[in-house]
């Protein structure tokens, strides 16, 4: 269970800057290739997760396009490690994450940002002091969605990181493993209940937080 939380947390934390950047880019800018970027971001949502996992393996695996230089230059191996599981989860959760952020960026009244500029704040300053705080509800929604998606990730993880006990066997993988043997019903029920508890806790926490943010923003 700690492993699952660790994998999910790292996947969210690691993809957060990228999700913010791409969400903002898609919400605020028109550029050639925008539709393509949008499509690529959404790809994991429509592809079979196992296919995504296999693609990751091809890219980041021991013989992979990126995996080989990564290993040679930095001694980093991603495939079949918990970091790999985190990457698989991040990729799968990315579309939801970006979508939530993009929507909240689009909902921000740009005239308020203009006001910040007339008050002496440069573009970056305006983004940090106005845009991001106003996008907080979307950011939170995105984090919760991405975290939940990452916790439940199965297909891409098993393909890219396999199901190594103590290393990459996250909760869903463990549940699947115990379900395979007939005499482990009790353990299976326990894991199922655990998933349930985590999900409910995450939803409740998100609900409470979003209320607080709403009150704070006065919306």
């Amino acid at each position: 269970m700690t492993l699952s939380l660790q994998v999910a947390a790292w996947s969210v934390a690691g993809s957060l800057p990228f999700a913010v950047a791409i969400g903002w880019l898609l919400a605020r800018h028109d550029f050639p290739g925008k539709a393509l970027l949008d499509g690529i971001v959404h790809l994991p949502l429509v592809l079979p997760p196992v296919a995504v996992g296999y693609l990751l393996l091809l890219l980041f695996g021991r013989q992979g396009l990126i995996g080989v230089p990564l290993h040679d230059a930095f001694g980093i191996t991603l495939a079949f490690t918990w970091q790999g599981a985190a990457i698989a989860a991040a990729v799968m959760a990315f579309p939801l994450f970006v979508r939530a952020l993009r929507l909240s960026f689009e909902a921000i009244d740009r005239r308020i940002e203009v006001a910040a500029r007339t008050l002496g704040a440069g573009p970056l300053d305006t983004f940090a002091s106005v845009t991001l705080p106003l996008a907080a509800p979307g950011l939170l929604a995105g984090i919760v969605l991405a975290f939940a998606r990452a916790l439940g990730e199965f297909g891409a993880t098993i393909a890219f990181a396999a199901s190594i006990p103590g290393e990459t066997r996250t909760l869903p993988l463990a549940l699947y493993a115990v379900m395979q043997s007939p005499d482990n019903e009790e353990a299976a029920v326990r894991l199922m209940a655990l998933s349930f508890a985590i999900a409910v806790a995450a939803l409740l926490a998100a609900e409470g937080l979003s209320r607080r943010i709403a009150r704070w923003l006065g919306t």
Binding site: R111, I112, T118, L119, G120, A136, L217
Partner: protein, 363 residues
């Protein structure tokens, strides 16, 4: 005093060409015109929110924009405050932090106007801890004005800051803006299409119509130009007269107002003797007589001569008369013919009422 700001710009958008040039000094310059005249585009260009296709904007010797020289300062580097029609406060910040937003971004040496002074000036002490959504429309606009002022701008733009407010709220804020024009030492460019705001606030008026400047000059003189009547309402709006409280007449509850060459009697005003103010005399409240009327109830009968006659709507004409000050009278064309009015005709003006809607400060 050199012009605080000099503007010359041209900007084209589909279906509209803005081509304006004017200079503004200290005090309040009102950009006046109908909606669609291009007023907001002018102030947006000043603030750097719109990039004109040609022109030059200079503020106190600093060039903010010069198309030919390739100068185009970013909004945050122009030092121009902007009060928007919709206050645009930051919803995630308290009133105090909204006020300090621009102030914090100044070097300490540039913080000439202090926080406490602005808060006191606008009367917003009680609001400091609140969130913008807990403010009324009028309070929000006062905070927005304070926020812009605290950024210590070298020019303050106000784009119809009162347009979204009801009458009592407007009356609550107008005195603050009026005071700003005098005390803050910041020149103000104020956009409006409301004649009463124009009359009350303007030192100088720039009249905009379909993207061009049709007139620019001191308020009193401009209000009396017959050729501008279609744009600023002219006679419709009435003449603006600077007066001084001469004395009160407690027995009849009246106040005598002195102007260059005469006196007006109005219902008692709660002002000290010597107070200076502007009053407005509507054209429809002025009747004309060729001979001095006797035994009539009208208190204000002023003697002078006709200066000009301009056609008005329908059967009416607007007569500009000089009685020491210039006044408009709206009468029927039939009356004008019957009285044989022409420029130079001696005339008596019967002023039925005087609107005291102007501020107390002398200009």
């Amino acid at each position: 005093m050199p012009a605080a700001i000099s503007v010359r710009l041209r900007h084209e958008v589909p279906g509209f060409v803005l081509d304006v040039g004017f200079e503004a000094a200290q005090g309040i310059t009102v950009l006046f015109g109908r909606s669609g005249a291009g007023k907001t585009m002018v102030v947006d260009a000043l603030a750097g929110l719109v990039r004109p296709s040609a022109g030059r904007i200079a503020l106190g010797g600093r060039v903010l924009f010069d198309r030919d020289a390739g100068i185009d300062l970013a909004p945050e580097r122009r030092r121009i405050g902007y009060v928007f029609q919709d206050s645009r406060l930051f919803p995630h910040l308290s009133v105090a932090n909204n006020l300090r937003y621009g102030w914090r971004r100044l070097a300490p040496a540039e913080r000439r106007i202090g926080f406490d002074r602005v808060v006191a000036l606008l009367g917003i002490e009680a609001l400091l801890g609140r969130r913008p959504h807990r403010l009324s429309g009028g309070e929000r606009q006062r905070v927005a004005i304070g926020r812009a002022l605290l950024a210590n701008p070298e020019l303050l733009l106000m784009d119809e800051p009162l347009a979204s407010l009801d009458r009592p709220r407007r009356d609550e804020i107008l005195p603050f803006i009026e005071q700003l024009g005098h005390d803050a030492g910041v020149p103000i460019i104020y956009v409006t299409h409301a004649v009463d705001e124009l009359v009350r606030l303007a030192t100088t008026v720039v009249v905009l119509e379909r993207g061009t400047v049709v007139a620019a000059g001191p308020l009193e003189a401009t209000m009396l130009r017959p050729d501008l009547a279609p744009y600023i309402g002219g006679a419709e709006a009435g003449a603006v007269v600077a007066v001084t409280v001469a004395r009160h007449d407690p027995a009849y509850a009246l106040t005598h107002l002195a102007f260059a060459g005469g006196e007006l009697v109005v219902p008692r005003l709660d002002l000290p003797e010597g107070a200076r103010l502007r009053v407005r005399i509507h054209a429809r409240d002025v009747a004309l007589a060729r001979v001095e009327p006797a035994a009539i109830s009208t208190l204000n009968v002023l003697c002078g001569k006709v200066t000009a006659i301009a056609p008005a709507e329908g059967p009416q004409v607007d007569v500009l008369i000089d009685v020491g000050i210039l006044l408009w009278a709206r009468i029927t064309r039939k009356s004008a013919v019957a009285l044989e009015l022409a420029a130079g005709t001696p005339i008596h003006a019967l002023v039925k009422s005087v609107a005291v809607d102007a501020g107390l400060q002398a200009r």
